[in-house]
Amino acid sequence: MARMKFLCDTERCIECNGCVTACKNEHEVPWGVQRRRVVTINDGVVGQEKSLSVACMHCSDAPCMAVCPTDCFYRTEEGVVLHDKDVCIGCGYCFYACPFGAPQFPQSGTFGLRGKMDKCTFCAGGPEEDGSEAEFEKYGKNRLAEGKLPLCAEMCSTKALLAGDAVEVSNIFRERVIRRGGKGVEAIGWSTAYGKGSADADTRAAAATAPVPEKTGGAQ
């Protein structure tokens, strides 16, 4: 088994916020805490608008973990980054470090502990007995322990947001990308990662936008 990962397919994400409320529903996440949210870039710009659902990415080399002064973070064998709220002091260093804005600092009383950091758990609960009230109150539901995947992905309206074992997720995504003729290489950040002007990127982009061969209509 590989690591647990989220993947958001920007060709599919329509900013319906189903993932956001699925998370709220499953974990009774209080007002003001956004464990998951959808961001839209170039909002309203014809041809350039893209939406993307973002939460904790459960980094393999997690900056939050690296900077935490109380070392409250741990990573599970499945690659899920979790933390112990009893140890967290709510300082916000992880908030500085996280490139995705995942750590949340609720106004009050959240998950039984004032001021402690809260974030996406990949529906894996936390360091309390699995399925216990204590786990639910501090961290939310533990779906992984029930053999289920994060509800945000399971309920995604267009199946844009995928979650699970990275091997399974990439298999689903690959099948999809092949079917749509190579799109997906235009994923957010592709040109940043591989260079706008590179021959490779241009070829891929051209392949992706090439017209579909004309189909014969019934009117002829």
Binding site: E11, R12, I14, E15, C16, N17, G18, C19, V20, T21, A22, K24, N25, E26, E28, P30, W31, G32, G44, V46, G47, E49, K50, S51, D71, Y74, R75, T76, E77, D86, P106, Q107, S108, G109, T110, F111, G112, P127, E128, E129, S132, E133, A134, F136, E137, K141, L151, E154, M155, C156, S157, T158, K159, R179, R180, V212, K215, G217, G218, A219
Partner: protein
């Protein structure tokens, strides 16, 4: 350093963990809500968390007190927030709805949900629900018992009936009622003695239903969300599916990824447009001109399907003539769309067949709505796309059961099943109800009023306010019952407030007190009652998705607080009105937990089955529907068909028409008018509903164009007893069937025998086989014509494309067209911006319900207006500024500015889901304590103007005018 779980001490759950936990975590019950209440939500949203305003124990609390940790039970229901029909699995523990799981098995949504669907569990807790009956007394909301409420309301209603007649009352039903409740409400209102009833469909798709049904037979989505997977091109115009029907995008993006081309035409670059191959910006209200522009290219290039038109369409030559008038320069002038884009739409639709179209309220909510939707039908007929998988007109309905409530619910011009309200229709339904026709007739003020269409919900305010001598009934409206609809979804809010003030009695039956309560309390001191209804999750019943599939909801939890299901409330009133026996003649009564009588919903559906032959609501017995809900996994998510299992051969939810009796085992109709299938496999053809001949031209379909396997391989009229006899098929009826069918047609033969013989024995369609009508000669514009909106910023176009003449008595009311348009001809000088409105994904309809759900409310906390950066700059407005949106009616609403290129410089957009603020004032104090929605905002309809469709009285919301200034 990486700390792995292997660092944990060996052995099962560490004792240190348990010890530590017990030191700080006070033990709690299993009620997840008590956790929620104490966990910061209240602080986050201010006053709403002020504690329970009523001294009562909620069922949820009571249940969680029980020590026994009950097992989790799964109950299956359907989301109540749009017409896609997404299935929901609810986890219930000790009577509390504790969890929501995706239903991956559903062939419609495959487990997927949008923001609304993923949050429906909140309704099962309902912190902001109306908890008890209330009345407005001395300007304050007071609690009263159900008994007192029923007594006071019924006495007042009966007094009005006595004094002013049954037509002095108005009954606003609901597209959120189940089929059974909607059906019972029509029956209820009939026994009260009026046709003054309506529901959301009037202001949602009434123009579609009338326009489309008059074109080819049935006023519904022809295909399905799933079938759109087969489309090679999809043209959206006036639909923002990504926000209004998000889960439909699962099927649509599947088509796109398989190579389908998507075009979105809209005044606004929507979330749907962001997923399209091409976006076309058109001027609001100019749809007909654009469609003719597209058709001109189709005809000029010979892309029309000539054989199809010859065999199956009447009057296309007239449409061709009209489209030739729409030259490139004229289309550009009216729509703002350059010819190359118009050509692109035509070519894409013609060369990527089958191609489909999608429309919603962007097309329907116009004073020309009926003509716009017919123009769309004609486009699809010209391309030969109707009755074809992957083609059709995919009209996305709005509410979860707006299709069903339209089909069998409280319509002012028809009894269930579109039977109309002529004497024959009444006799048919009286026989189904088991009541005496003469008795029902006696309930009405006169036979004339019994057969006269009632006032529409879009105009009830004029039923109150209009001069008595100008209305087409005896009395003005004195009492209005809002039974599951929001007032802020109707236009002319300013006039509505006046109407609310003038009424003698206003009754609101709703799970949420709704904006009606607050609006009324802001202008009245007495005479308003609120009755708490249960949501659809607290009862069972069927609902019809946009694709005509019926799904059966299981009751998830018992009604919360003191709420009661709508049909239980109807029966309680029927008792007070003295017609309870007639009301449930064929329907068993059950006792609920408090001992109230509840009409049995399975029996109610069986009664619907026994009477609704016209549109095939006859085969969907409760048993068949429940079997489908249980075996969802056996249905294909591509074809909706079950190839194996106990439902083998059926289409999911037996999409109507599902003809004949349940025993006939009709599988339902996945795509309407599809001649490639046998009628017993869901095939069909266009309906013979408009005679057999017009001006010397046959209206029957051409030879060889009948449905597969038909014994009559040509056009034929609808079946009745004489046709059956002429064909020599009469003796195929049983003796009992003969007795029932004598003198009847397929719609009124209550044995279903005529249908059985025609379909099963001979493969013929009971409604005949005719041509679709491109020209609807009984409508004001038989050939759809572009006409400028009543409030237009283009006086030059008003001269060229003026509106209709005024109408004297139209749905019982004088209705103005030309007078208004001429009076406001130069309105653009002071109100230069086109104002349009639409949906947000987080909210539904009037929005009180969804704005009361914290998980949704948090995502959209401010009412806003979208305006272009240039429009904003001209007015010195910056993003997030407060602005006043000023309307020619004198209304002005205070909202946030959202500066965005999403809209063009001439247009502004406002969402229509807000209420609870009124022209700058917060109405919080006018709600019952604790029952105000979390988010309140100005209603766009406080500022909308006059204007109604010339056929259906649909209100004009999509094209009006405003001015915006910085607040």
């Amino acid at each position: 350093m990486l700390v792995k779980r292997s660092n944990r001490p060996s052995g099962p759950a560490s004792s240190a963990q348990a010890d530590t936990a017990s030191t700080f975590s006070a033990p709690r019950g299993l009620d997840r809500r008590s956790f929620l209440k104490s966990s910061g939500l209240a602080a986050g949203v201010g006053a709403i968390g002020a504690g329970l305003p009523f001294a009562m124990v909620r069922p949820a609390d009571a249940a969680s007190d029980s020590k026994a940790a009950g097992a989790v039970e799964m109950r299956r229901s359907v989301c109540t927030h749009c017409s896609v029909g997404c299935a929901i699995d609810a986890e219930v523990k000790n009577g509390v709805w504790v969890g929501q799981e995706p239903v991956f098995d559903s062939p419609i949504n495959l487990g997927a949900h949008c923001a609304k669907g993923a949050s429906v569990r909140e309704h099962g807790h309902g912190e902001h629900r109306l908890r008890t009956p209330m009345k407005l007394h001395n300007g304050k909301w007071e609690r009263l018992s159900w008994d007192a409420a029923l007594k006071e309301v019924s006495e007042k209603l009966l007094a009005i009936r006595e004094k002013d007649g049954p037509d002095a009352t108005y009954w606003v039903g609901s597209s959120k009622h189940s089929n059974e409740q909607a059906y019972l409400l029509r029956k209820f209102v009939s026994f009260w003695g009026t046709n003054n009833c309506d529901h959301q469909a009037r202001v949602c798709h009434s123009t579609t239903v009338a326009g489309v049904a008059n074109t080819w037979g049935y006023g519904a989505m022809t295909n399905s969300y799933n079938d759109m997977q087969n489309a090679k091109a999809i043209f959206f115009i006036g639909s923002n599916a990504a926000e209004a029907h998000p889960v439909s995008m699962l099927h649509i993006l599947h088509a796109k990824e398989g190579g389908a081309k998507i075009i979105v035409a809209d005044p606004r670059f929507t979330r749907t447009a962001a997923k399209a191959d091409h976006y076309v910006r058109l001027r609001s209200g100019s749809d007909i001109a654009l469609i003719y522009g597209v058709m001109r290219h189709i005809f000029e290039n010979g892309w029309d399907d000539k054989k199809y038109i010859e065999d199956r369409v009447y009057g296309m030559d007239k449409i061709r003539e009209e489209s030739m008038q729409w030259t490139a320069d004229k289309v550009l002038d009216v729509t703002g769309v350059p010819d190359d884009q118009v050509h692109l739409i035509a070519e894409t639709m013609a060369k990527n067949k089958p191609s489909t179209v999608v429309w919603c309220m962007g097309q329907t909510q116009h004073s020309t709505g009926n003509a716009i939707v017919r123009a769309m039908c004609n486009l699809q007929l010209a391309l030969g796309n109707v009755g074809v998988s992957g083609g059709g007109t995919n009209i996305f309905r709005g509410h979860d059961n707006v299709q069903g409530a339209t089909d069998v619910g409280p319509n002012p011009d028809s009894l269930p099943g579109y039977y109309g309200i002529a004497a024959g229709a009444w006799k048919h339904w009286c026989s189904v109800w088991g009541v005496d026709y003469e008795w029902v007739k006696g309930r009405y003020a006169s036979p004339g009023l019994m057969e006269k269409s009632g006032i529409t919900v879009s105009r009830w305010i004029d039923g109150v306010l209009e001069k008595n001598e100008l209305i087409d009934q005896d009395s003005n409206l004195k009492a209005v019952v809002y039974w599951g609809m929001a007032p802020n979804s109707q236009t002319r809010g300013k006039d509505m407030l006046e109407a609310m003030k003038a009424l003698e009695l206003l009754v609101v039956v709703d799970p949420y007190p709704s904006a009606t309560a607050a609006m009324a309390a802001s202008v009245r001191k007495e005479g308003v009652y609120l009755l708490p209804a249960a949501t659809q999750f607290e009862t069972s019943g069927s609902c019809t998705a946009s694709n005509r599939s019926l799904q059966w909801r299981e009751k998830i939890i018992e009604p919360l607080f003191e709420s009661k299901p709508d049909h239980t409330i109807m029966y309680a009133f029927a008792k007070r009105f003295g017609f309870e026996k007639e009301f449930v003649k064929n329907i068993k009564l059950d006792k609920d937990k408090q001992g109230w009588d509840e009409p049995n919903l399975e029996d109610t559906l069986r009664e619907i089955n026994r009477g609704t032959w016209t549109i095939g609501y006859s085969g969907q017995s409760p048993e068949r529907l429940k079997l489908h809900m249980k075996h969802m996994d056996t249905f294909s998510a591509h074809t909706l068909k079950a190839d194996s299992g106990p439902c083998a051969g059926d289409y999911f939810g037996l999409p109507w028409p599902c003809y004949g009796t349940p025993e006939l085992k009709h599988p339902g109709t996945p795509n309407l008018y599809d001649t490639s299938l046998h009628v017993m496999e869901g095939g069909g053809n266009f309906r013979a509903n408009f005679g057999v001949e017009k001006d010397g031209t046959s209206l029957l379909a051409g030879d060889g164009s009948a449905s597969k396997g038909s014994d009559l391989p040509f056009g034929y009229p609808e079946f009745d007893h004489t046709l059956l006899k002429k064909l020599g098929w009469w003796d195929e009826l049983t003796d009992a069937e003969k007795k029932a069918a004598e003198g009847k047609n397929w719609k009124t033969d209550n044995s279903g025998g005529i249908i059985r013989v025609a379909m099963k024995n001979h493969g013929c369609h009971p409604f005949g086989n005719a041509k679709a009508r491109a020209v609807v000669w009984n409508f004001p514009d038989p050939v759809p014509k572009h006409r400028e909106a009543l409030y237009s910023t283009r006086p030059d176009l008003i001269d060229k494309y003026p509106t209709h003449e005024d109408k004297k008595a139209f749905w019982r009311l004088p209705t103005l067209y030309k007078t208004v348009q001429q009076q406001w001809k130069n309105v653009g000088k002071d109100f230069p911006l086109i104002m349009t409105s639409g949906r947000l994904v987080e909210y539904e309809g009037g929005g009180e319900e969804t704005r009361s759900n914290p998980w949704l409310a948090e995502l959209q906390q401010d009412m806003f207006v979208e305006l272009n950066p240039a429009t904003a700059a001209e007015r010195g407005i910056r993003d997030r500024d407060w602005v006043w949106v000023k309307s020619p009616t004198g209304s002005q609403i205070k909202v946030r500015a959202l500066v965005t290129p999403r809209v063009g410089t001439d247009t502004v957009f406002l969402p229509f889901h807000f209420s609870g603020r009124w022209m700058g004032q917060d109405l919080l104090n006018f709600y019952p304590v604790g029952a105000a929605p979390i988010v309140r905002g100005e209603s766009v309809n406080a500022g909308t103007t006059y204007g109604y469709d010339v056929v259906t009285m649909m209100q004009e919301t999509k094209t009006t005018v405003c001015q915006i200034v910085k607040a």
